[in-house]
């Protein structure tokens, strides 16, 4: 690997090169690889690109893939939320079987601050500190004054479609006062749970518990959490006139622009971030040897989309806290393991 390519992943038409990082001791002559924080601080940077109530896009620069990946894994599977875990079916005469209905109910995101609740182990009894109760009591009936020949079930029948807004929160203990400011409810009111026809009823009690995505995907606080590497398009030789136009059209709009320099129209990369690295440009003979597609190996573009239970910036903060906590636990465990081993000897 050449020195200037040390943090570039090179994309060729049929393969990808320089995939593994080389920031280990003795990879390059006379290069010192920093182990401690001072070295890390020199290269590390973080930038928030976009922040909305449900989404965040940020750049994590100067870290290894293992750290970016740990963050992603924790976001998906280790941040706790509340979700429906137990469904006590009292009556269900609808077309949907009990277990399918229960599974659908479980996936509804519930707006409740998970930090306000305790973990519930299988042996623990349900209390107002670890369980949220919802009721679903619905019955479908024929509508009144329905015009002759009407075919739309929404007009013909009452409660023909059951939505998440029909879940009734049943506060226990002091929950009513604890959550007076922000009552517990499904995040979205318009999630279709099932459909009924006149005479069919559903009556059940739902218990929400605290859990993590590792246990079941319904506990995952993110809709998506992913990262990609920043693309870097290197033009090695000027691309002019008609070729420049073809070159520009090889990329998504806004990546390459044509600028005029000394009376010559040249292709210029203006925003490589928008590139999808489709490799279209490598299919054309006239660009052979003139362009190089690369990605920056230590520049991660993170995209986190929350389900709405926890704000995206709080999610990233919590993920980092959990990562630190994992290190703490490992360190303490290591200390005690060393102690234990010494005693045995």
């Amino acid at each position: 690997m050449a020195l200037e390519d040390r943090n570039r992943v090179v994309i060729l038409e049929d393969r990808v090169e320089n995939i593994s990082g080389a920031d280990f001791p003795m990879s390059f002559d006379g290069e010192d690889v920093p182990f401690h924080l001072e070295g890390f601080k020199k290269t590390f940077d973080i930038k928030i690109i976009r922040l909305t109530p449900t989404d965040i896009e940020f750049d994590l620069i100067g870290v290894d893939a293992s750290i970016a990946n740990a963050l992603r894994r924790i976001l998906i599977s280790e941040i706790p939320t509340m979700a429906i875990e137990k469904v006590y079916m009292i009556n269900n005469t609808g077309i949907m079987q009990d277990e399918v209905l229960a599974h659908r109910l479980g996936l509804i995101p519930i707006l409740a601050d998970p930090n306000e609740f305790q973990w519930k182990r299988p042996s623990d009894p349900p209390t107002d500190q670890n369980t949220i109760v919802f009721k679903l009591d619905v019955a479908c009936a024929k509508g009144r004054d329905v015009p002759e020949g009407e075919t739309d079930p929404k007009i013909k029948y009452i409660n023909s479609s059951i939505y998440s807004s029909q879940l009734q929160w049943d506060p226990k203990g002091d929950q009513e006062t604890r959550f007076a400011q922000n009552p517990i409810r499904p995040i979205h009111d318009d999630i279709l749970i099932t459909k009924l026809r006149p005479g069919q009823i559903i009556s059940c009690e739902l218990h929400c518990e605290k859990g993590i995505g590792k246990d079941h995907a319904k506990f995952s606080p993110v809709a998506t959490a992913s990262y990609r590497l920043l693309p870097d398009i290197q033009i090695l030789e000027d691309i002019t006139d008609d070729d420049a136009e073809l070159f520009r059209d090889c990329f998504p709009p806004g990546v390459v622009d044509i600028v005029e320099e000394d009376g010559v129209r040249k292709a210029k990369v203006i925003n490589p971030r928008k590139d999808t690295v489709s490799r279209e440009v490598l299919r054309h003979k006239q660009f052979e040897g003139k362009v190089r597609l690369t990605r920056v190996r230590d520049h991660f573009i993170f995209n986190v989309e929350s389900t709405g239970i926890v704000s995206p910036e709080a999610l990233v903060n919590q993920a980092l806290d959990i990562l630190i906590e994992k290190c703490e636990i490992s360190k303490a465990a290591l200390d005690s393991a060393v102690k234990g081993n010494n005693e045995e000897e």
């Binding site: 001791p25 690889v33 920093p34 182990f35 924080l37 890390f40 601080k41 590390f44 940077d45 973080i46 928030i48 922040l51 940020f58 994590l60 293992s66 750290i67 990946n69 740990a70 894994r73 924790i74 280790e78 706790p80 930090n115 305790q118 973990w119 182990r121 299988p122 009894p125 349900p126 209390t127 107002d128 500190q129 605290k210 590792k214 246990d215 079941h216 704000s311 910036e313 709080a314 903060n317 980092l320 806290d321 959990i322 990562l323 630190i324 906590e325 994992k326 290190c327 703490e328 636990i329 490992s330 360190k331 303490a332 465990a333 290591l334 200390d335 005690s336 393991a337 060393v338 081993n341």
Partner: protein
């Protein structure tokens, strides 16, 4: 029917050690760390950080089976130090790095939206479940006994049993 309990994935069984250390008989100065109830998340970072250490000769991990919830990390060092020492150094260094990332993220949030960022930080930090980075040195000593480690994150909240 014979499916493993779901909580076995992240609850350390009673009496089990979080980390078991065994010597590798075939390699000098080499230890095998068996870390219970952890996965690629922490093992891969440790492997990477250990490889950066100048005294480490070999460091690699494996997750032997998807239904056995542990990872094995093998570390070999030069004779100038021990695998346990470099492990401690690596973990310490990682914690500092993450603290750095966290404060950089907070600063960035504050730069973006001074008021909103402040509110979210309060929300994320207020619960006792997640101590901020500032509390690390103090909280490490809490884990002195192995029985403490067997508890999960949730156990730290006070146990209040109110039946309804």
């Amino acid at each position: 029917m014979n499916a493993p309990e779901r909580f076995e994935m992240f609850l350390l069984p009673d009496g089990a050690r979080k980390i078991e250390i065994t010597k590798d008989p075939k390699m000098p100065n080499c230890l095998l760390f068996k870390i219970q109830r952890e996965d690629h998340t922490i093992a891969n970072i440790l492997r990477y950080k250990l490889l950066k250490h100048p005294q480490v000769l070999f460091s690699a991990y494996r997750a032997p089976h998807p239904l056995e919830y542990y990872v094995e990390l093998k570390v070999q060092t030069t004779s100038r130090t021990t695998p346990i020492n470099v492990m401690l150094e690596a973990i310490q260094s990682l914690m500092l790095e993450y603290g750095n990332i966290r404060s950089a993220f907070d600063n960035e949030l504050f730069r973006l939206e001074p008021t909103a960022a402040d509110g979210s930080r309060r929300a994320a930090r207020a619960p006792s479940t997640y101590g901020g980075f500032g509390s690390i040195d103090a909280s490490v000593s809490e884990f002195g006994i192995s029985s403490d480690i067997s508890s999960t994150r949730g156990d730290r909240a006070d146990d209040v049993d109110i039946d309804f």
